[in-house]
Symmetry: C2
Subunit: 388 residues, 2 copies
C-alpha cells in the first residue's frame, strides 16, 4: 500500500479555563499560533482543507462554524468541514484530516478544536452536555455524565476492589502535571485528602474527581510526509488512527467496567501501526472523571482488567515513571473544552515528541498515543504518533 | 496515482414532508432500505465506517447522532462520524466517506443524511436555521435565508434583467418533475401564474419560490471499486468530488450574483474527474429558492453569467430537454430536510444512472453532477458520478 502518512508540522493552543474571549478570538489565537509555530514558515494558501471539531456551545449564537474557521484562518475558498462526535469531536476531526492527506486530496490540512462552554447559562450548558448522552434511559431520568461515570466507578469498585484512594490519586497526579503546563486551567496541586474531602457530586465521585467546565481552542497543521520537511525538520508522524462506537445508554452494554469503543479503537490503531503497547512512551487519555483514566488504561491494554489502580499506585503513570499518563494535566486539571480536547491531546504529543515540553517533558519520548471519548463511551478514537 | 474510486452500491430514501415518524424511525427506514437495495446482498458487518450529515434539529432532544446511527444501522463497534456544514452536511459527509474508501481505511461505508425539522416550534426552527447564516450582520438584524436569497435575486435582476417569470419557471419545472417522484413532498404541478400570485415572502421571492420545511432521511452504501461488483452489477462510480468555502455574510463577498464556493467546488471536481461540462447528462442542484437554481447553473458552468434564465426559458433544463436539472423535483418540490439533501441528490443519481428512475428517467443518462450548498453559499460541494 502506497499510502503516505500524515505528520503534524505546527500546533497552537489557547489557555484553557473560563476565558473572556469569544469563539472567534479563541479560533484566531489557536490558528495564528499554529501557523506561526511552523519552523520554516507556512502560507495560509498552502492549506487546502480544514476540519473543525466542536460540540456546539459556541453555536448557540454562532453556527456554521466551518465558515467561521475559513474566515478566521484566512482560508476562504478552501473547504472546511465541521465534525461533531460529542467530546470526541476533535479526535474524529483529526482522523478525517489524516485521511484527506492519505487519500492525496490535499498536501496540507488544518485541524481545529473549539468550545466556548462558559457563555451559556448553566441550564443551557446542562442541556448541551446532556443530549450527548442517552436521552430515553438516562438524560430524561435525570442521569448526568457525572452520574453515568459514578455508576461505572461503583461497578469497578465492586468487581475489582478499586479503592476510593486510587481514584483520588489520578486527580493528584494530573493536578501535579498541570502545574508545569502554562495552558492548564488548574495549576495548583491537590492532595488525596483534599480530593476525598471535596463535595460529593455523584457517589463515589467528588468534585475533585471531575473535569471542569472550560473554554478553549487548539489548532494543528498537518502535512503529507513527502511535504513535511519543507515545513520543519522535526515533524511528528501519525502512525495510525483507530475508532469505534458503542450503544449510547450504558444499560445496553454487556459491561460497566470497560468501554468497548475504546477497545475497538485501540485494536484498530495498534493493528494498523504494527506497533506494540510496550513501544509507546506515554499516553494522553480521556480522563473526564478520575475513573475514566483507570478504564482507559485497562481498555487501551496498558493494564490488565482491574489492574489500573495498582499501576497508578505504583507511580508508573506519573511524570518520571515508566509510562507517564496525561503529562499535560489531562482533562481533569488542564481543562476539557469539549470539542477542543482531542486536538489538545495531539498538541501535547507534538510538544513532547519534539522534546519541547519543558518542565513536563517525558524523557526520550519517541512514540505516544492519544485517546478521545465521545459521550460516556458511545464513540472513541485512538491515534498513535511517532518521531520517525 | 493508484487511488481506487468509491461507488454507490445501494440507497434508501424516506418520503420527504411533515412526517409522523421521529428521527430514529426515519433512520431505520432509510438505512434498512439502503441495505435491502443492494442487489447481491450486504451484511451490516461489511460496513466498517459511517458518516451522518445533520444540522441538528433532531438533536434538540436527541444528540450524539453518530451513536444513534450506529445503533439503528446495527453497526455498533464501527466508527460513525457526524458532519455538520449547514444545508451541505450530507454533501460533506459523502465526501468524507469517499475519502475513507480512497485511503483504503474501509472497503464499505455508509452515508446517512437526516433532518427532523417539524418537531421544534417555529421559533426554535428559525433559530436553528438562522445560526447557519451570518450572525453579526445578518441574523441579529432580522435577515433570514429568504431575505438573503431575495437580495441575490434582486441583484441578478438588476445586473442581467432576469425576469420574475424566469424565477417562476424554475418552480414550475421542479414541481412538474416531483409529480413523478413518490418520495417528494409536493406532487402537484403549479403554473407561472400561481407562483406569481402566491404570497410575498421577501421581495422578489414569493411562497412558491421557496423550498418547504421537511422531515426525511436518506442512506447510501458505498464500496471500493474493487469490491463494488460483489454487491451489484450496476454500481455508480464517484468520479470526483470538489468543495469550497466563502465568507458567511454576503456583504463580505465581491459579488451578489454568484456563489464563489460553488465555482471553486465545481472547478475542483471537474479538474479531478478530467470530465467536461458537456459530458454531464443531468444535474441535481441546490435550489433552496428559485434564484438558487439560476445561480447554480451559472456558477457550475452550465450557463454563462446571466444566461441561466434563458436556458430555463428554452426548456433545456426540463425532463426531455437537452440538460435536465433536478429531475427529482429538487429542494423546491421534493423537499429540503436540511442534513438529508446532499444524500438525496446522490440517491437520485443512483436511480437515474442505473436507468431505474421510472417516469422521471433521464434517457441514456451516463454521468451526473450533484451540488449541495451550506448557508447562503458559505460552503458547497460538487460531486460527479459516472456509470463506468
Amino acid at each position: 500500500m502506497g499510502r503516505r502518512r500524515a505528520a503534524i508540522v505546527g500546533a497552537g493552543h489557547t489557555r484553557f479555563g473560563a476565558l473572556a474571549e469569544g469563539p472567534r478570538a479563541l479560533l484566531r489565537t489557536a490558528i495564528s499560533g499554529a501557523f506561526a509555530s511552523v519552523d520554516k514558515g507556512l502560507a495560509p494558501s498552502d492549506v487546502r482543507e480544514a476540519y473543525v471539531g466542536t460540540l456546539g456551545f459556541s453555536g448557540w449564537q454562532l453556527g456554521n462554524v466551518s465558515a467561521v474557521v475559513a474566515e478566521e484562518a484566512g482560508l476562504v475558498s478552501a473547504p472546511v468541514t465541521r465534525v461533531e462526535n460529542a467530546c470526541a469531536s476533535a479526535g474524529f476531526a483529526l482522523r478525517d484530516a489524516v485521511r484527506a492527506i492519505e487519500s492525496d486530496a490535499t498536501d496540507v490540512a488544518l485541524v481545529v478544536g473549539l468550545e466556548k462552554m462558559t457563555d451559556p447559562t448553566p441550564t443551557r450548558r446542562r442541556y448541551w452536555l446532556g443530549v450527548s448522552g442517552d436521552t430515553e434511559w438516562e438524560r430524561l431520568a435525570g442521569l448526568t455524565f457525572a452520574g453515568v461515570y459514578a455508576l461505572l466507578a461503583s461497578r469497578h469498585q465492586h468487581e475489582y476492589g478499586t479503592s476510593r484512594e486510587a481514584l483520588a490519586e489520578v486527580a493528584v497526579k494530573n493536578h501535579a502535571h498541570a502545574v508545569a503546563n502554562p495552558n492548564a486551567q488548574f495549576r495548583k496541586p491537590v492532595t488525596v485528602e483534599q480530593v476525598l474531602a471535596s463535595p460529593r457530586v455523584a457517589d463515589p465521585l467528588r468534585l475533585l474527581d471531575c473535569c471542569p467546565v472550560s473554554d478553549g481552542a487548539v489548532a494543528l497543521v498537518l502535512a503529507g510526509e513527502d511535504r513535511a520537511r519543507a515545513y520543519t525538520d522535526t515533524p511528528v508522524y501519525v502512525a495510525a488512527t483507530g475508532a469505534g462506537s458503542d450503544y449510547l445508554a450504558v444499560q445496553e452494554r454487556p459491561s460497566l467496567t470497560s468501554l468497548a469503543a475504546t477497545r475497538w479503537a485501540a485494536e484498530e490503531a495498534f493493528r494498523r501501526s504494527g506497533l506494540e503497547r510496550r513501544q509507546i512512551s506515554f499516553a494522553e487519555v480521556h480522563d473526564c472523571f478520575t475513573i475514566a483514566e483507570l478504564l482507559a488504561l485497562e481498555d487501551l491494554g496498558f493494564a490488565a482488567p482491574g489492574e489500573a489502580a495498582a499501576l497508578t499506585h505504583s507511580g508508573a503513570t506519573r511524570l518520571g515513571g515508566a509510562f507517564p499518563v496525561n503529562p499535560d494535566g489531562g482533562l481533569k486539571a488542564k481543562g476539557h473544552p469539549i470539542g477542543a480536547t482531542g486536538a489538545s491531546q495531539a498538541y501535547e504529543v507534538f510538544q513532547q515528541l519534539r522534546q519541547a515540553a519543558g518542565a513536563r517533558q517525558v524523557r526520550g519520548a519517541e512514540r505516544a498515543l492519544t485517546h478521545n471519548v465521545g459521550g460516556s463511551g458511545a464513540s472513541a478514537t485512538v491515534t498513535i504518533f511517532s518521531v520517525a
